[in-house]
Symmetry: C2
Subunit: 679 residues, 2 copies
């Protein structure tokens, strides 16, 4: 062996200094008593105190090693070679690395010779070295492919120059037989069709055909991550489970110069108690002796962030429109069908056997999606409202590449504010320089000052806040009898300014319009004229009703309060907001007065690209034209939008909802990728 030993000259040390500054330095013992075999992992540094193991009376030492081994002595001595004896100092340390993985076990060697004051050999410590290359890899650069040993693979950074891999909650259902979300099904293995929903992870190794006796590779996660992910290993024809909540570590075979593929699935969305980050570790364990636990000599780690659930604002392209068919809504359905189909989208009807008379398609669910560089799919958030439409999201929507998630608070904690007409999302905005490229979620709550009041349940609020990419805004919606933000606001696309307008119901705009009518001699024009059995009322009568005026002043002040919050939180100017002429009235409910739309609430519309489906207001007519419709057509026409008025009076408005409440739209995801956000 002696002939293969080489001297290492000073210039070479210095040139290679960087290779020794690895963060992964492992303290290693030198032992003169017995031959030592050391397993070395490429990219790490072994550090041995020369003095600690030196025999008594040692004054000098020398070092020899094989070609593939490199070392430096710290502190550096004024010598070009350690082949001949050099003085041993108290703090002399040997730093060892290897250039390449070994072909055979113990095929490299480093020896330290100790000498007394006369340079007579006292003893030697010999390290037999086996080098292996080990890398646990993920798609840390987010290009859809698993690169090799990305230096940033174990940290997560937001933004276009960020890094860190991404995980989907495997919440769709590959199979419709005994359907359930995949992450709740058959946890012991996965079928190959499910692999695309999971994130690949690769263990790459290089070195001798097998590890030295007793060494083990172990994949492991912490307890809390065990509740959030599952790891499967790629086998011949299926994917057995290797890590989950009840099995946090698993020995993994070492295959020499080969790789092993894993697939990782999320089982839990980010939430109050989970920031979305999980870590998977691979440790190389060194045996000590019988009955003594192995110690890890190397740990590689990767990080994943579980993809958040993302909502889609009105400005995104519609894909499907959903409505319910009921005994009494034929006219509404006909209007919707005509609007949706002429707009070029698909109308999907939920029939009565499924909806059981519950027509509030908006309230039972919210469409969203999850996305990663390798895959993405729509995910429905099922509301805790749970009325007769309750089964629709699970029974009809959940399926292959269509995910499902819900939060189930206690029954007593659920109120009307938990219906998802009270959950909306703004288009992308920039607020005081801060970008929200996916917009901001908007929910309605009670005032914090109200001693009692209805609220969106904390469990759903926590979920929404925890997604982080669409930071929510809480509005005051408890002033409304039904209590949903979609009763007073909506967003429509616009080609100018910020790309959209905020529409707000405005009693003041309503009164202004009615006063103008009166002033122009149309005070006798009637509302509700074309509705059978509905009493009519004239413009003059409305304007003469001082109580109604007070109720609308109150409603306006509640909307104005929300207007101020929206301007501040979305960075809007008054020019970004359009006031729609809508009146409210107050109704008593358990000693509290709350607001309802006086005539069909035009802001509660469906937005399909440039086509708007608006509740037909049945307002006062001037020359046979409804003045409210005319005003809407004029306001929306300025934005290039087309209004279709849909008669929802009997089947929705009288039941305290309108077009938006009775429909739902699944939209295309954002082009913008959520991981490119700057947080």
């Amino acid at each position: 062996m002696q002939s293969t030993m080489q001297s290492t000259s000073l210039p070479k040390f210095l040139r290679q200094k960087d290779e020794f500054s690895s963060q992964y330095t492992r303290t290693c013992r030198l032992d003169v008593e017995k031959r030592q075999s050391v397993l070395y992992v490429l990219g790490t540094t072994l550090k041995a105190s020369l003095n600690r193991s030196a025999p008594p009376k040692t004054k000098y030492f020398s070092v020899k090693c094989t070609d593939n081994v490199q070392y430096i002595i710290s502190p550096l001595l004024q010598t070009t070679s350690y082949l001949s004896p050099v003085p041993l100092m108290d703090n002399s340390v040997l730093l060892i690395t290897m250039k390449e993985a070994s072909v055979h076990e113990n095929d490299n060697k480093l020896s330290v010779w100790y000498y007394d004051a006369d340079k007579t050999v006292l003893d030697k410590a010999v390290l037999h070295l086996t080098g292996v290359d080990i890398s646990l890899d993920v798609d840390a650069d987010r290009d859809g492919f698993v690169e090799k040993n990305n230096p940033n693979k174990n940290t997560w950074k937001w933004g276009p120059h960020g890094h860190g891999a991404i995980l989907l909650v495997n919440c769709d259902a590959e199979s419709l037989y005994k359907k359930r979300p995949d992450h709740e099904r058959n946890i012991k293995r996965r079928m190959s069709s499910d692999v695309k929903d999971m994130s690949p992870m690769v263990l790459r190794t290089k070195g001798p055909a097998k590890l030295p006796e007793g060494y083990k590779l172990v994949l492991h996660i912490c307890q809390s991550d065990g509740e959030k992910i599952r790891v499967f290993i790629s086998s011949v024809d299926h994917y057995p489970l290797v890590l989950y909540s009840a099995s946090l570590s698993k020995e993994i075979p070492y295959l020499g110069n080969d790789e092993i593929k894993f697939y990782v699935e999320g089982v839990k969305f980010p939430d109050k108690d989970f920031d979305g980050l999980i870590h998977i570790n691979l440790s190389l364990l060194e045996p000590i002796s019988e009955g003594i636990p192995e110690t890890p000599i190397f740990t590689d780690a990767v990080v994943f962030r579980v993809a958040p659930w993302i909502m889609t604002p009105n400005t995104l392209r519609p894909v499907e429109v959903f409505v319910c068919s009921t005994k009494d809504n034929y006219k509404f359905l006909k209007g919707m069908k005509s609007l949706v189909e002429s707009s070029g989208y698909k109308l999907k009807i939920c029939h009565e056997y499924m909806n059981r008379g519950d027509r509030w398609m908006q309230d039972e669910l919210e469409f969203g999606y999850i996305d990663s560089p390798h895959h993405g799919f729509p995910v429905v958030l099922d509301s805790p409202r749970d009325q007769q439409l309750d089964d629709f999201p699970y029974d009809v929507l959940l399926g292959p590449d269509f995910g499902y998630v819900t939060r189930e608070p206690k029954r007593k904690d659920v109120s009307s504010l938990d219906s998802f007409g009270n959950l909306e999302v703004s288009p992308p905005v920039t607020v005081n320089g801060k970008h929200y490229p996916l917009g901001r979620i908007i929910i309605g709550v009670a005032f914090p000052t109200a001693s009692k009041g209805r609220n969106m349940t904390k469990m759903v609020q926590d979920f929404l806040w925890a997604q982080t990419v669409q930071e929510p805004i809480a509005l005051f919606s408890d002033w409304l009898e039904v209590g949903h933000v979609d009763e007073f606001m909506s967003f429509v696309p616009a080609k100018d300014r910020k790309g959209f307008r905020l529409l707000l119901a405005s009693p003041d705009a309503g009164y202004k319009l009615f006063k103008n009518l009166q002033n122009d001699g149309h005070g006798d024009a009637k509302l509700f004229e074309d509705i059978p059995d509905e009493p009519t009322i004239t413009v003059n009568e409305i304007l003469a009703d001082k109580i109604l005026q007070d109720e609308n002043n109150y409603s306006q002040s509640c909307i104005d309060w929300n207007r101020d919050v929206l301007k501040r939180e979305l960075g809007l100017d008054d020019e970004d907001i359009i006031d729609l002429p809508v009146l409210f009235k107050l109704v008593e409910d358990g000693g509290q007065y709350r607001a309802l739309a006086y005539y069909p609430d035009m802001v509660n519309m469906i937005v399909l690209g440039e086509n708007l489906g608006i509740p037909k207001p049945f307002g006062p007519k001037v020359n046979g034209v409804c003045a409210l419709e005319q005003e809407m057509v004029s306001l929306m026409g300025n934005l290039g939008l087309t209004c279709t008025f849909i008669d929802d009076f009997t089947s929705y408005h009288k039941l305290m909802g309108e077009v938006h409440c009775g429909s739902n739209v699944r939209r295309s995801p954002f082009d913008f990728k959520w991981w490119n956000m700057e947080m």
Copy 2:
């Protein structure tokens, strides 16, 4: 009134533009139908659409106001005065502010006159204005005094240039009668002696003697903050409770030109589910009409951070030393008393009626403190260990200005690793440029790769991590039979380098010392010579025991693993670490082999300034001097530290502990204030 109206010229508008760009803009309605009274809060801006309320046919408008009122019109018109009619545009907006608080209700006025195309008056809208100044104040600049309306009072920022007020958990016990921590006692009111433990908060108001009819000031917090704080109001001779978990909002009297003082106490330390930040809001509510909830027209908010519990490293000045007196530890007590008193500190003895034979003073509790700009005091963290010493922290330590906190996991989740010999803290360090001016907490756990293993209970770990100012480091201590980090590491002060040295037990250093003894002809020197009934063993016998050598190689590799972690996490060089000659042996415990000190474990010492109390090792003697003691004296002497060897052999070492396990030191807080950390 007309005579007091003034015109406002353009230059004045521009000069005062800033006053109108307040973040707090409130949309306000103009009403031509009836006289409006508006309550205005100084520092905010009222914003009214001129067009929204304009009568039909309006083409021009003009504005007049009293001296104390200021306004601008947006968009700005090419005019120097709005006293004469100017054209009304669709987007004309009026921005109104007041310069000073009112003396009487409605003592100011602004009127908007509307004109038709012929400049004939159509109607006017009149706002009667009452200005009030309202400010909820705290010590946001952290100087110990409540300043007025700090612009940063509602956000919290770390660092010397940071801001945001600080709250203490009121966890001491003012009264020893039926003693319990104050925040758990008598929640309806507080005595004046308790006020110093609470953070002052002041409501300052200025304006007319009373608010207009129906307006209210309400102090309110959210549900989750209600579980973390209590707010008391200063009354004549006591402090009634106003806000807590069961009362989240409270009407507060408005006193005109006066102030009301509040005191806020924390009831919960930062923890896994609580980041330490709480908000208190003050809202001014506007009445609408009977049966309709008031709407807030102004909200002021302040933020507090609950002070974290902070540990004190060995480098801080000792105040008191605690030990237990037992039937059999007279010799130990005598040694400790002599050391502590000669070092100039107080020794406090916990007698047997209290300790009930449990001598492990280190393990039952950890001393720490909480601090704020106005006050601070020591706080004991009671370990979930709960053996016979269990009552000591509560019964003896808790008292006036001595706080108490504990975490009580389920009995079955508690292991030996929950004793606080397994909870230490480093001196201040800087790691890769990141400063830890309060050091880092150090705990011992099982390896994540171990399928079974003992751990510090998650509940205590969560608490420690949540304090955030001493970010914890987890070491591997499960290799030890007792499982405490203080069995292999300690910190001592040093005048050079980083101000301290890390001491590590080192079997290699032990073997090296013994080999040198053998080599120098002292192989027959005996360990344990002066201990009655203890068998002796010679240096030669130790060196000949190959099994013992293997066990120590293992122990060394476990310590080396921890050494690598400590170097990385504390930013240490090898020169910052001193290896102490300590041997271990393995004992079997339920099929697992774990380590115990072979002779008294010298690293398990008490550090009192420059005086160290070290377990007397009873090592081999050379010329009558113990070689182990001599080595310690030499190593510590280099740092200017004095060693006192304390005989703990029979009463501690044989029971698997040493000096450090059997004592505890309360130390002075850091001079560095935790809120000055850069996070």
